[in-house]
């Protein structure tokens, strides 16, 4: 059905406005991070990058980075593995409790994260585990592995089970079918799930809040400093955290592009 030109233009304008609106607060944080003044007021009169220097030297910031990275790294690898099998059960195989499984998997996503964090804290206390960054890994997994499952499931829905059947008819064992057909076909989904897992874990605040014990992640530290004891490092560390996410995304988008480029070059050379 055709849409009128005016409507189309209005929708494009609306889209651009929404994007600008979404990024406006980050613009403010960006400006604040390069302000020289200790107590920030806009418009900024003196620009300086001193806070970035301070952030890079700070041992606290190094520790925070390391904690956040360790949690996100382990969560990524684990949820890729769990999500891969979860997605097969979700989308590919016809088994008895599939409908129930699909719905139960979604429940943690619909759950208030702060309450989930507290519930886990009680649970760790109950079983006698002292919370540190490793317990936060568990907390993140509860929320992130269902999301990873869903992302891989989207890929699993679009693949043709006949390919697996063909391999089996040719005499491949279950293990070989998995290795030669299923894994390569789902790989793009697994990689984007891993990317999501890392980034969601990296930026997560409500789950980490109660489950890291004496350790602290970047978002937790930022929150603590925002609520009490403001530090001029807050905008700077915030921007560093955002920059890390965006760099990772760019790398993730650049790698397939680079592979295609080198392949094209090789083809032309041969």
């Amino acid at each position: 059905m055709p849409t009128y030109r005016a409507t189309r233009v209005a929708l494009y304008v609306y889209g651009v406005l929404v994007i600008l609106f979404l990024y406006l607060p980050l613009l403010s944080v960006g400006f604040a991070s390069v302000s020289k003044a200790r107590y920030l007021t806009f418009p900024i009169r003196n620009y300086a990058t001193q806070w970035y220097g301070k952030a890079f030297e700070s041992q606290t910031v190094h520790d925070l980075l390391w904690t956040s990275l360790s949690i996100a790294g382990i969560v990524t690898v684990t949820s890729m593995f769990i999500g891969f099998f979860g997605a097969l059960a979700f989308a590919r195989y016809q088994w008895r409790y599939r409908g129930l499984f699909q719905k139960l998997i979604l429940l943690p996503i619909f759950f208030p994260q702060a309450v989930l964090g507290l519930a886990l804290l009680m649970w760790f206390n109950f079983i006698g585990v002292i919370p540190d960054w490793k317990t936060a890994v568990v907390a993140h997994l509860v929320w992130i592995s269902p999301i990873a499952t869903l992302i891989i499931a989207i890929r699993a829905y679009s693949f043709d089970p006949a390919l697996e059947e063909a391999a089996r008819d040719m005499g491949a064992s279950t293990w070989m079918v998995m290795k030669e057909v299923t894994v390569p076909l789902l790989m793009p989904g697994v990689i984007s799930a891993g990317l999501f897992a890392f980034l969601l874990s990296w930026g997560n605040f409500p789950l980490s809040l109660f489950t890291t014990g004496a350790d602290s992640t970047l978002p937790e530290w930022l929150y603590a400093k925002m609520v009490m004891g403001y530090s001029p490092l807050v905008p700077t560390v915030g921007i560093l955290s955002v920059a890390t996410s965006i760099t990772l995304l760019l790398v993730a988008f650049a790698i397939p592009w680079l592979i295609r480029m080198t392949r094209a070059k090789r083809l032309r050379a041969s």
Partner: protein, 284 residues
């Protein structure tokens, strides 16, 4: 083939099921057990007396619930109105631009919500990005827009925007163009097409989107703390206080259980109405 499918399906479901049993179902049981304990105990070795639920009724905690649920409802309705035109455009009008919007919105999801809310504090406070520049350029001044109820709802709308937008867009993309075309040919006006075709056929997306935004907003904590100051105490805040400063685990657990029951019954009801195979693009 069918038989091996059954076995291998169960096997593949095992890892995530184990993770969720040990770190989702079990903690909920523990919270439930604590919620029936007498006040201010830290182990489960006591005689249950359900007093924490009595405290909920007598001490006015229902007010926090009403605030949380009311603000969640308001933000969900606003989100629907704000997201519908864009979701419609992404599904039916834009081509490449839909991908641009998707990527731009997904990137914001990866930025910790408290950094973005802090950005709004810097934008809206007195001497912030908006007021500061306004005063510098025009001499006009106002008192900043923070620390009231509307700004908390604004924060909820901002943070949970993607959770409404993407399910809506997915739902609208399930509306067949033929049905809309046929309605138009038969003389339906735009409003009738929206009401009779778009809305019912995209219902799964609407259900999932509204449910996600409502549930997440009802359990939200950072928006009211960072943008709202202490104007309103939301329920997640009460739960946190009971566990931390209050040192009253049974009360915190009882408040959590009530919140979980409200949210959980909504979630189960909503999810059970939606065909997940269809909305996620099953082709067979």
């Amino acid at each position: 083939m069918e038989r091996s499918d059954r076995k291998i399906g169960l096997l593949s479901a095992a890892p995530i099921t184990v993770v969720l049993l040990l770190s989702f179902a079990a903690p909920l049981l523990v919270i439930f057990a604590f919620s029936v304990m007498p006040p201010k105990v830290f182990t489960l070795a006591h005689v249950p007396d359900f007093s924490a639920y009595g405290v909920f009724l007598s001490q006015g905690y229902y007010r926090s619930f009403l605030w949380s649920l009311g603000m969640a409802l308001a933000s969900t309705m606003l989100l629907f109105l704000i997201c519908w035109p864009l979701a419609f455009a992404m599904a039916k009008v834009f081509n490449h631009f839909a991908l641009v919007i998707t990527i731009a919105v997904v990137i914001t999801l990866f930025v910790s919500e408290n950094i973005r809310l802090f950005g709004w504090v810097l934008t809206l406070m007195k001497g912030g990005l908006i007021e500061g520049h306004l005063r510098a350029w025009t001499g006009l001044s106002f008192d900043g827009a923070l620390y009231n109820v509307p700004i908390i709802i604004f924060g909820l709308v901002y943070v949970y925007f993607p959770f409404m937008l993407f399910p809506l867009a997915q739902g609208i993309s399930m509306v067949p163009d033929d049905a809309r075309q046929a309605a138009a040919d038969l003389g339906a006006n735009r409003w009738q097409i929206f009401w009779e075709i778009d809305l019912p056929l995209s219902a799964p997306g609407i259900v999932i989107g509204s449910l996600l935004s409502f549930v997440l907003a009802a359990g939200a904590l950072a928006e009211s703390k960072l943008l709202g100051g202490q104007t309103v105490i939301v329920i997640a805040d009460e739960v946190e206080t009971a566990f931390t400063y209050g040192q009253n685990w049974p009360l915190g657990s009882a408040l959590s259980i009530i919140l979980i029951l409200i949210i959980g019954s909504l979630a189960v009801f909503g999810v059970s109405r939606v065909d997940l195979d269809k909305i996620m693009g099953r082709k067979r």
